[in-house]
Symmetry: C2
Subunit: 344 residues, 2 copies
DNA sequence: TGCTGTAATGTAATCGTTTACAGACCACGC
DNA sequence: GCGTGGTCTGTAAACGATTACATTACAGCA
């Protein structure tokens, strides 16, 4: 059915080797006249080399795997987009895998991607337990981790400085006069959730404010979790005037809950998120948040992966600086108003 | 480096054909004893068949292409997730492609996916001009369109009833007493944008209300466009008490703008969106919207694609019913309050 | 003239599978 | 005793490319 290299060879009156040399732009010499004849046949027959066959022979499939917990989590699409943009420019395809942070699925995908002979992997997932990673490393599979990386595994990674992010967010609130700042964190088993909490604690410590366990809650990185955490805070009458949320989803969930309980933002409670997902600037009030350069992280990860595939094997990790984007949810931009903590 | 079928054959003391028969679960008979020997060798050597080689021989790559305009547009991740879930259950991989609705990119991807011998394609993109589609059809590539389908091309598709969606949204506002209802639409070149507008006009017509061109604006399906459209409406002092937006992004942009101009939602202006993206229920007030079953659409499209790949060639299109999700942005749930249009 | 080197092209092996075909073996029925 | 038919297994030819190696032709040179 499809046109093969044999058809072209026959049409041009040459051997398949010659066609291959012309088509794949090999270094070998081909007489200009022959080359022209082959090219004519190629265009006439609309020949396009079969990448599967080529992949089998050359052991390069021009395919990479992108493993995320859940593409419908708003944090990942921008990353995926960055990865795909760079990949497609380099002629590589991106196989999308959702693991739901389920170890079984993750293992299954890893095996699958191996049998598919992908050229490399980008891991933007949590469940990356070092066992897997070490195995991949041993097998020599090019891998780049993104957003999360277990300590002590010598693998390339593109990360942001989580600690610095929450530290700056907390410092911002301190500067605005807040002293009772709650923290809604992610599952503490995740390294980045732990780092974000550390940043918050560091900022408090530097300001000479003791860390109050009652002010620290787990919101599981989900909007509902953020709402629940705030609900508990209010129910237990723990006093607070500001919140640092370890991601935007929880911040938005918290805002919603605060509003239902009659608290105004930022007048009664100031809040800062983390990630800067698309909707951070669409909620009301617009959410002040620590921006992760998600798209750029995706690009960088793919660029690094291309280098690793190209043979560069000295694990490097890029740690990007997060950036505090000040909007309206913390009261800093409300010139006329005075933060709740300073009133009365 | 990698373990091949030859290694297994040697280890088990049989031919590669026998190994293949055991591994691929072919119908051929293999003596239980031999089978056991082979299986032992397989597990001992950790053999896993090379899908590239298998694909070349069987002309099946267990890969499908998913073509979307932009995965970072919040409408698509849920679709992608549905597609991927069903695909992975069927042992197929999903190659993600972003076209930005650019015809050149689209064509490039189509060629690429062809040379990669993908088993089929899911097109969740706008730029689907019938030329492409007809070519695919001619080549016999299994294709399923999702969310958008040009008329008159006999290709499988999974759609929602756009007209009905906006009609119900508009009827809902009419029932609440609104008479001056603005419509913020998408680019009218897109068939679904046109359908949504038609639904709005039908509802007005059925209520005996003339369609006022001044109330109809193009928001380009983007948040900024929604804001701009509302801004223009206000600047030109076109009176309106409610808005139907052809997607949630525009609705959210519009809400933001209304708020900045001092209009309260839903008291001064009621608003209904379309799509029910994740954030529709996170904005304040929570957005009433016409829900598209995005995840299910992804699942259905992939299920249908599997059937088409399996040989079922009679184009079928599934038209799903959208569902109006009533939240707080239209005033229907605010029992104590009276819609602005009925006040004084 | 004959030898050598190089450019241009062809032949065939290879990548790792599947599978058509053939052969070996055995039991069975006549 | 001998064909016949059924299992089981092996051999080798695909799939569609790349590429090591062989071959040819011809120019340059002694």
């Amino acid at each position: 059915m499809a046109v093969t290299i044999h058809d072209v060879a026959q049409a041009a009156g040459v051997s398949v080797a010659t066609v291959s040399r012309v088509v794949s732009g090999s270094v070998h010499h081909v007489r200009p006249e022959t080359r022209a004849r082959v090219q004519a046949a190629v265009t006439q027959l609309r020949y396009r080399p079969n990448l599967v066959a080529r992949g089998l022979k050359q052991r390069v499939t021009h395919t990479v795997g992108l493993i995320v917990p859940d593409i419908s989590n708003p944090f990942f699409p921008a990353i995926a987009r960055g990865v795909e943009d760079v990949a497609s420019r380099a002629g590589k395809g991106v196989l999308l895998c959702n693991t739901d942070e389920d170890l079984t699925k993750e293992r299954a995908y890893l095996n699958l991607l191996d049998t598919r002979m992908v050229d490399g992997l980008i891991f933007a997932t949590v469940g990356t337990n070092p066992g897997h990673l070490r195995m991949l490393r041993r097998r020599g599979v090019p891998v780049v981790l993104i957003a999360r990386a277990p300590r002590g595994v010598g693998i390339d990674a593109v990360l942001v400085d989580n600690r610095r992010g929450t530290r700056e967010a907390t410092e911002h609130l301190l500067r605005l006069g807040h002293r009772k700042i709650a923290f809604i964190g992610g599952p503490t088993t995740l390294p980045d959730a732990a780092e974000r909490r550390t940043g918050y604690e560091e900022a408090l410590a530097a300001a000479g404010i003791p860390v109050a366990p009652a002010l620290i809650r787990d919101g599981g990185f989900r909007a509902e979790g953020g709402a629940a955490a705030v609900g508990a805070l209010l129910d237990q009458r723990v006093p607070f005037t500001a919140i640092v949320a370890a991601n935007d989803l929880m911040a938005i969930g918290a805002m919603e809950k605060l509003r239902r309980r009659g608290r105004r933002i930022p007048d009664d409670v100031a809040i800062v998120g983390f990630d800067d997902i698309t909707f951070a600037r669409l909620v009301e009030p617009r959410l002040t948040t620590v921006a992760q350069p998600k798209y750029r992280m995706g690009c960088l990860a793919m660029e690094r992966l291309l280098e690793v595939i190209g043979g560069d094997r000295r694990p490097r990790r890029a740690v990007l600086e997060p950036k505090l984007v000040v909007r309206d949810s913390c009261g800093a931009r409300a010139r006329g108003r005075v933060p709740a903590a300073q009133r009365s």
